[in-house]
């Protein structure tokens, strides 16, 4: 009995936010009378939250290094404005325009990273200044007007779907096939990892637990693709997200740079004396954040089909909230990319569910605030229990 209890509490700590996310989904599924998980709405949730997920990934890395970035909303707006000028006004080819926008984002990140990492100005101040600077520059560039419309290829970034190869039929077959292929890849990967682990005689979870986990994940994955297949299939932006999530998880867990970033946040002085180039790591985190803010700006602009002066307001708070719900700590050194994504989804499902129920934005804000506080309190209290 005690063993069961231990497993439950351990997993509550580890998977607390995933369980909370599932809880929220079930709650809104009931409250909205089933309209939350309709194919159309699931597709919507992904598209609506794509840019917050992109920002949350970058923000998670910034917070892991022990810093903060308040400027991402303004940077996204500024890059969106430049995208408007380059692509909509000057008719630059979409590919080149987007490429330049991403470079611009990275340059802005480098500017802020320079002040934080090399000039040692607190990131709160640097990025608060950045928030004002780039909001102001957005207004300067746009002259208070909105730039629209954009060419179709550009809009496709946030609104197109993978083209269907198998025509006819109710379902998008390609999506189902992608789901099955991904499941196969995932299962082979896990089995291989388990084999390697047993080869080195590391501890592995019990076989039953392992199979249950695989079955649950594969079922969820295929249910998800099945739902998408009932509508338009896989959105392009979902592919962008998945590439980002996999590559950033890889970098943070499996590379020297990733380990160095965690070390900088864990104990900057010890990291420095261990040969980690701490300034460079912080600088790179900001360059990366700028790049992702640029990408978020592009995706958001494409979704609106317009560059507007007000774009991206409060994005920074959504991104920070997502990272914190996802397990980041402001003292630095902890957090995962996957956590940031879960955090962003918690916020996203809340937004979407409450909108479906017809709750006004006034109450939505208040409720989101409470959820943020509650999520972190739940986590902190759980951890304290584990320690005593």
């Amino acid at each position: 009995m005690d063993a069961v209890k231990k497993i439950v509490t351990n997993n509550l700590q580890k998977f607390g936010m995933i369980i909370a996310l599932i809880g929220i989904i079930i709650l809104f599924q009931i409250l909205t009378g089933g309209s939350l998980l309709t194919p159309l709405n699931v597709t919507n949730i992904i598209m609506q939250n794509s840019y917050i997920i992109i920002l949350a990934i970058g923000m998670m890395i910034i917070i892991i290094t022990g810093e903060i970035d308040l400027s991402v909303g303004s940077v996204a707006a500024f890059v969106g404005a430049i995208a408007g000028v380059l692509i909509a006004t000057m008719n630059m080819p979409v590919f080149l325009g987007v490429f330049l926008c991403l470079i611009l984002g990275a340059l802005i990140g480098a500017w802020q990273g320079f002040w934080v990492a090399y000039m040692k100005i607190p990131s709160f101040v640097v990025t608060l200044a950045g928030m004002l600077i780039f909001r102001g520059l957005t207004l300067v560039v746009m002259g208070g007007r909105t730039i629209a419309p954009f060419p179709n290829e550009f809009r496709g970034l946030s609104s197109a779907f993978l083209p269907e190869v198998f025509t006819g039929g109710e379902l998008k077959l390609l999506t189902i096939i992608i789901g099955i292929a991904a499941s196969l890849l995932y299962v082979t990967y896990e089995i291989r990892q388990r084999k390697i682990a047993s080869f080195y005689s590391f501890k592995v979870p019990a076989f039953g637990l392992f199979v249950t986990k695989l079955v649950l994940l594969v079922l969820t994955l295929n249910a998800f693709t099945y739902v998408l297949a009932q509508y338009q299939g896989v959105p392009i932006v979902l592919i962008i997200l998945i590439v980002l999530i996999i590559s950033y998880t890889f970098v943070m867990n499996k590379t020297i740079i990733g380990r160095h970033i965690y070390a900088v946040g864990g104990n900057m002085k010890a990291a420095q004396l261990s040969g980690v180039r701490t300034k460079k790591m912080k600088f790179l985190a900001f360059v990366n954040m700028g790049f992702l803010a640029g990408l978020a700006g592009v995706v958001f602009t494409a979704r609106l089909n317009a560059a507007t002066p007000q774009a991206g307001q409060l994005f920074e708070l959504d991104a920070i909230a997502a990272a914190v719900i996802g397990g980041a700590s402001f003292t630095g050194g902890v957090g995962t990319i996957f956590g940031a994504v879960i955090g962003a989804l918690v916020m996203g499902v809340l937004n979407n569910g409450m909108s479906l129920m017809g709750i006004g934005t006034d109450w939505q804000q208040a409720i989101k605030g409470l959820v943020l506080l509650g999520a972190v309190a739940f986590d902190v209290i759980n951890k304290n229990k584990g320690n005593s």
Binding site: K254, I256, Y262, A263, G266, A270, Q272, L273, G275, G333
Partner: protein
Amino acid sequence: MTKTLLEMKKITKRFPGVKALDNVNIQVKEGSIHALIGENGAGKSTLMKVLSGVYPYGTYEGDILYDEEVCTFKNINESEAKGIVIIHQELALIPELSIAENIFLGNEQASKGIVNWNETIKKTVGLLEKVGLKIDPLTKVKDIGVGQQQLVEISKALSKNVDLLILDEPTASLNETDSKNLLQLLREFQKQGMTSILISHKLKELLSIADEFTILRDGQTVAKLDPKKETVDQNVIIKNMVGRELTNLYPERHPQIGEINFEIKDWSAFHPLDGDRPLLTNINLNVHKGEIVGLAGLMGAGRTELAMSVFGRSYGRGITGKVIKDGKEINVSTVDKAIENGLAYVSEDRKEFGLILMDSVRKNLSIANLKSIAKRNVLNLHKEVKLAESLKEKMNVKTPSIEQITGNLSGGNQQKVVLGKWINTNPDVLILDEPTRGIDVGAKFEIYKLINDLAESGKSIIVISSELPELLGISDRIYTLNEGKITGELPAAEADQEKLMTLMTKSGGSN
């Protein structure tokens, strides 16, 4: 017959899964200085936390009798009201506040919530006089030395009308002079009738000052010694502490010294904040292959500054001079270049500068040389686990697993992790700054042995230590440092504490 001021009877304290204290008894006579000794983890701190009410009445078994009354403290305020005050090893002062503000923090001299600063300062001056600190009470605590901060802590205790003063490792971070002053002060308080309990690893100090000894091992009282009735010396104490006889404090050593391997030439540096203030002037020293060289100096002499400025210019500015290895000048301008060129520096402060306490033992062991377990920047986690396991074995780190959070290990084991981390970079020259600070006798011996093994494998080793017996015990040759200059060099066999102290306080410098 003096009466017993404090008696703790059959104290048992359980934590989930462990018995931290098991039927511990301790009796402290009024007006005595009582030494509480034990290896790290023996239960000294837990016992003092029970006494002061950090672990409130009801969470432990047994009785506390103070002044012949049974005490049921629920928190620190209640024990302090009785006159029991603890000064912890990590000083609890606020650096940005003045001495006066710190002393009366939580005990403000105020009426109706408004602080009377004149009264505060007047009382502070009186208290500082008692501890022999001649300093402006409005000085910020961050601007005074560690020794003086310790005295401020004692003043703070005095301000609470203390009858029983408990000092946890008060001299751990003090140099010889400051330690002596502190012990002298305790003797004076004793004359005025104060009782104190002293927890320390420095057995010599305890032997010079304490009237009674209580020794704990694994949460149990193993001995009560009274120097008036029996001979109490280091051997007796150590035997009781570790449960076996350590025939020698320092492992035997058969030095095989080769040719000169490492040289620092004409090394000078200036203060990082004040570019005109010299920190180090024209330092010249060398280390042979297989040699252990000691670096002696009082606090502020520039020992750590020298080590850190050589190791990737991590301290100071305007640094000039050459670092030579194997006859060739090497580039040590950044930490990663210094590591690449075969240098390793084990910091004196393992918690601040040595370890990432929130990370696992595995990650701490590999961090300084991730390249060895990576291919094109991608880490091989399996290699890392193998590496960590073998280092853990080699260094004899006592931890349930390499995934254990480093912050949960004892001081000695943390130090072994730091050493392991640097051995993993495969250095030719190791600079060890206070390698045994704050760790217990048994672990010290192991660390000495590791240092010996490293020297025997042909590495050059520089040891910085404030404890002269330690330097004399493990080095082959010793340099002394004062005011940023080398003031002497002599073979350890010809040196003794007096000779070193003379050189360490000599100004001018020999070169």
